[in-house]
Amino acid sequence: MRSIRVARALLLLASISALTHNPLSAQSPPVLAPVSTNRGQVNLSFPPYPSAAYTILSGTNLNAPLTPNTNFFPAPYNLATNIQVFGTNSVTNITANYAWRLTNPPPAGFYKLMVTPMDTNALLTAIVLNRLAYGPTPDELERVTAMGPQAYINEQLAPWNITETADSIPAISNIALKFPEAITPILTNNPGTNASIADLRAWHVLRAVNAKRQLLEILLQFLENHFVTQYSKSQMYFDNVGLDSTTETRVAAQFEYLENEKWRNALLNPACTFYDLLKISAESPAMIIYLDTILSKGNGSNVANENYARELMELFTMGVNNGYDQTDITTMSRCWAGWSVQAMAVSNAFNPLATPLSGSPNTNGGVWAFNFRTANQNLTIKTNFPNKTVPPRFGAPWAGRNYQYIVQKPASQTDTNGIQQGYQVITNLANLPFTEEFISVKLCRLFVHDNFAIGYDFTATNQTPESQLVLSCMQTWENSNPKGQIWLVLSNIFNSDLFRGNAAAMQKVKTPLEFTVSAIRALRTSTNGTGNPGTFSADTDGYSISGTMSGTSQRTSTPLNRMGGLLLFDRQSPDGYPEDAPGWISGGTLTERVRWVQTLCMTNNDTSKPDGINDTSSVGSNKSVSDPVSLLKYKLPLQNPPGSVTNEANVADYLLSILFPAEGSGNLALYRTATINYLHTADDGVTVSPLSGLSSSALDLRIRGATAMLLGFQRFNEQ
């Protein structure tokens, strides 16, 4: 259904000045600025409208209908920058207008602008493939367009019904085979053959590229980053314990893998709750080491370590300053003293109350696992949140609830029931309204846009769409039985107006992981339709994105790290990697993004070039490679009408349609002009040199260059 909005301006009449607008709210249709003529040219200027196509109508007689005038072409723009400083805050409004030009116009004329917003299903298709998945592939774009975006949402909300073919891809299964299951005694099992952190990272990237359960992979990355732990802190801990250097890296990698696997299994339960996910994090040896619980002593006069209790409330459940204070941190920290990681007999790998093995950790044949050390536990009664009540801003049913809860003291320093203290804490935290709010806010930031916050007054009469969505997530959480069912909360978000329109589309910037994976996916199709390895028009081994090296060299040379310090499974700071744009966008990181897409597209067959990490063998082998000509040769003849790889307009239009599906053809006009100019000129950018006159190798280079240029443009950084 196409809705048509019309704005008009009469030649040489004064115009209405453009209003500044909020990028999140519905926008009025654009108004034509005063029409100007200059040296025999007519300039029509108007501000862009989201996801739109533009048609310019013209005529010389108002008594007759105006008709489409296809002779207008988009021209250099006009920019007005308006900076306002308010006290210490300043705001810039950059008003970017289109200037559409017509040469040799009639002496007088009437012009009308017709703005056609994108079909709502087409827009939602782009949104779901950008948010529920690591970006569209050409095939997924076709599939979701055919099935409808709602069907895709429903499909991804039930991953247990999706057959995951990624597990059988050799590159993935070969790595997975290297991870022994939880109870395998990896200390005695020649850990040198076990997977390393580099393997785990590549496996994670490969799943992001390949998985059919795309939303599940998005959620697993979210959980890894939300319940953040650090590979190298585990590794350093075991180094201090005295493990040999290979084993310590393998044990540390295994912890990160196990977190991922446990969350995956939990999420494959339709009734998975937030408590289930929180419990996996709390019991994870990586977490117990990461936030120093392992060394915490609450016995006697010792002061328990506050680190985990603080971040548990601030970052993992309630949100900063949201319903707790320093006293609560100190009190709660005493509940965790005793949670530890020890070398356990294989038979006791899941029994935290068993006695750890003694002897050298390198030779005692144990498996490193969660263990409760009664000797470190604290023997006081802990009154958490003493007489605290939920503040009025939450409204019903939460406001006024007293959420104090008392954790009883262990009977003695050897009482193994003391382990229950920690479980009582997370049971209580998991469904506090503060937790419901904070986790809902984080999910909304992930899936809708970045400008959600904790602290809304849910009782106010004028609710913003954002506060309304958070509140409805909280209500879904509260009303599900058991409480906190993640899939229901997500369904609530995906069915909200805020998610399904321009308030979500392209409002977020891709993280380095999303940027690299989405670039591979955008150019990736099986060029003979088989879907078999070796036939993809873009591929990666994973390692060339997330890193093959360790130690210092890894920190300076992996693409994800270069784009802003993203080391998968190895975040130092417990707030996780940023979700918002300012955390990722600067001149330095944009340089790396542009260089990486140039590498992906243009360095095939030449490792001597800077960043030339690509393999010289065919597409589908190791490294990150692309073959846009194969993609175009496979897909263009299937378009309606069929296109050709030697037709500049066909190539430009197809690339724009797969790389920027949410933008609208009208707004891509200048990208299209730039692409056609690139394709149609020799290396000097001036001399006309049509694709049809090129050798196959020159055609290949030309199209690779145009593809790299489009991937390097601003809009590909967005989702």
Binding site: P48, V85, M506, P582, G587, L670, A682, A708, E718
Partner: protein, 556 residues
């Protein structure tokens, strides 16, 4: 008590608008930045003065950095991790002890707390590289620095230090960013504020002008993958002009546009500076141990300490910093080069890893090595090296780098850190989040030991502390139940109580060093516009939380 701030952009814009109307846009509203320089007041960016910041992320343990060695509460409450006192009289006045042992004349070695000569305080032995800077009068050690109603979340508190607006989540731009906007040069000069780290820090973020961040100075080049020169020219040209393609407004498009433009505007500037390893030739002029002079920026084993210089084998005992510090000194070198060779006014980087909850020392029998000692060596050597770099390679030196624009007298180096750590050690041989901490401030224009103002370079760590007519001595003693009169337990009975507001320190530097007018400073740090409440300038009892503070320290 809970404060909630709603942070939607919509709310922010609405609020900004109302505030703007309220003050009738008294300053430079609506005037494009390009013409603001002509209208701007003050001397930021015109007087040749520059600032180099280092953010110590994770919260540095101030009490184990500048140690209140004469406070009995220190050793009692840090029985495991406390730095041992030497068998000397710490009350003896004079310069910082310059302990010389062995054959090394320049860099003293000791494993005891180093006397600072202000009658009270001592330096962690791993900060011994600060001694020459201190005794030259070029160093101010600021103790008891925090802000009202101290927040103990890393992330909130780092944001507050960097926004210059504690406990105000509505201020979304940074303190150095605002200083650059006030200079009138932002968006006129491609470079004003620069960082060298993984992301642009909060202190340089803002929506009206682009500050610059380099993740790896040696790779700041769009043409990383030449296909052919012309072919790249074509793509490069398109990318360079892509900031001028109009698109409908979205949340991040303004940011992307400004940063793409800043990137293309700054490529040529950075291309003219040699950031490479082979370009790292900067060495000290001091001769140590018979070796050739040490490299100032230790970026690899061969440039760490002196032994390599004579072709001897690697001597790790002579390393000036731990081997994990090389990437930090790569970034620090870039910041120094940028200040020296470009028009950038503020440049900085970050050192992380200061969150020493556990095992901050090697063991109770070896308290002066381990995690925190290594971190302090980085700070000490960074300050020493920057002084030597700007002195030896700056403007007017004997061997200036080509086109050197500044020297040590033009530069102030300042460290920031979100809070201090608990006065009492925890059961894990570490310390938890607390309140007041320490700032290190160096520069040729700094009024430290025996130079101008106070005779000591220690500010806020003695029993005789008195500034601006206020006397707020460090009170010795240990914890009592509830808030104690003792300084180390003066906040909530657990934390070091503040005597300085970090905004007074940064404000003093921005006005009296960088050249802002007081009127500009009121815009850059909003607290200055409320002197009767905040007392950032002249001191008094904070109207925000009732804690008496000194106001500005006389450090420059």
């Amino acid at each position: 008590m809970q404060h909630f701030h709603i942070l939607t952009r919509r709310g922010f814009l609405d609020r900004s608008f109302k505030i703007g109307m309220g003050v009738a846009l008294a300053t430079l509203a609506d005037i494009p930045l390009v013409v603001k320089r002509a209208l701007a007041e003050g001397n930021i960016g015109l007087n040749g003065k520059k600032l180099l910041f280092i953010f110590l992320r994770g919260a540095n343990d101030g009490l184990n950095s500048v140690i209140p060695i004469q406070d009995s509460g220190y050793a009692i409450n840090r029985p495991t991790i406390g730095i041992p006192a030497d068998s000397i009289d710490y009350t003896q006045p004079g310069p910082c002890d310059f302990v010389t042992t062995g054959s090394n004349p320049t860099f003293p070695t000791t494993d005891k707390a180093i006397r600072l000569g202000n009658g009270f305080a001592a330096l962690h032995p791993s900060l011994r590289f600060l001694a020459p800077v201190y005794n030259a009068g070029d160093l101010a050690l600021m103790h008891r620095v925090a802000y009202p109603n101290q927040n103990r979340s890393h992330f909130d508190s780092q944001n507050y230090w960097e926004s210059g607006a504690p406990n105000n989540d509505l201020v979304k731009d940074g303190i150095f960013y605002r200083a650059m906007v006030q200079s009138g040069l932002a968006n006129t000069n491609a470079l004003t504020g620069v960082s060298i780290q993984s992301a642009l820090p909060y202190s340089l973020r803002g929506s009206a002008a682009a500050m610059t961040n380099l993740t790896d100075p040696t790779r700041y080049n769009l043409l990383g993958v030449p296909n052919s020169v012309q072919g790249n020219f074509k793509a490069d040209n398109a990318i360079r002009s892509s900031d001028q393609f109009p698109f409908p407004d979205k949340l991040d498009r303004n940011l992307l546009n400004l940063q793409y433009k800043n990137l293309t505007d700054t490529l040529a500037i950075f291309a003219g500076i040699d950031f490479s390893e082979t370009g790292n030739t900067f060495v000290d002029n001091a001769v140590t141990d018979g070796d050739a002079p040490y490299y100032l920026f230790p970026t690899q084993n061969q440039k760490n300490g002196g032994a390599y210089m004579n072709g001897r084998t690697n001597d790790s005992t002579k390393y000036v910093v731990d081997t994990g510090a090389y990437s930090l000194f790569l970034n620090l070198k870039a910041a120094a080069l940028i200040l020296n060779k470009t028009d950038a006014i503020v440049a900085g980087t970050e050192f992380s890893g200061f969150d020493t909850h556990q095992t901050q020392i090697t063991s109770s029998s070896n308290r002066v090595s381990g995690t925190h000692a290594n971190l302090l060596r980085r700070i000490g050597w960074a300050m020493y090296a920057l002084r030597q770099y700007f002195t030896l390679y700056g403007r007017g030196s004997n061997a200036p780098s080509s086109a050197a624009k500044v020297n040590w007298n033009d530069v102030v180096v300042v460290t920031l850190s979100e809070f201090g750590r608990t006065s009492v050690e925890n059961g894990s041989i570490g310390t938890d989040h607390a309140e007041a901490g320490v700032m290190f401030i160096g520069g040729g224009g700094v009024k430290g030991y025996n130079k101008g103002g106070p005779q000591s370079g220690v500010f806020g760590c003695s029993t005789g502390d008195s500034y601006n007519g206020w006397s707020l001595p460090w009170v010795t003693g240990t914890a009592t139940s509830g808030p104690s009169t003792a300084s180390m337990f003066g906040a909530s009975g657990r934390y070091l109580k503040r005597a300085f507001d970090y905004r007074s320190v940064l404000g003093k530097l921005i006005r009296d060093h960088l050249g802002a007018t007081q009127n500009q400073l009121n815009q850059i740090i909003a607290g200055y516009a409320s002197e009767s409440t905040e007392h950032l300038l002249n001191g008094g009892t904070s109207g925000v939380d009732g804690v008496p503070i000194f106001g500005e320290p006389p450090i420059v």
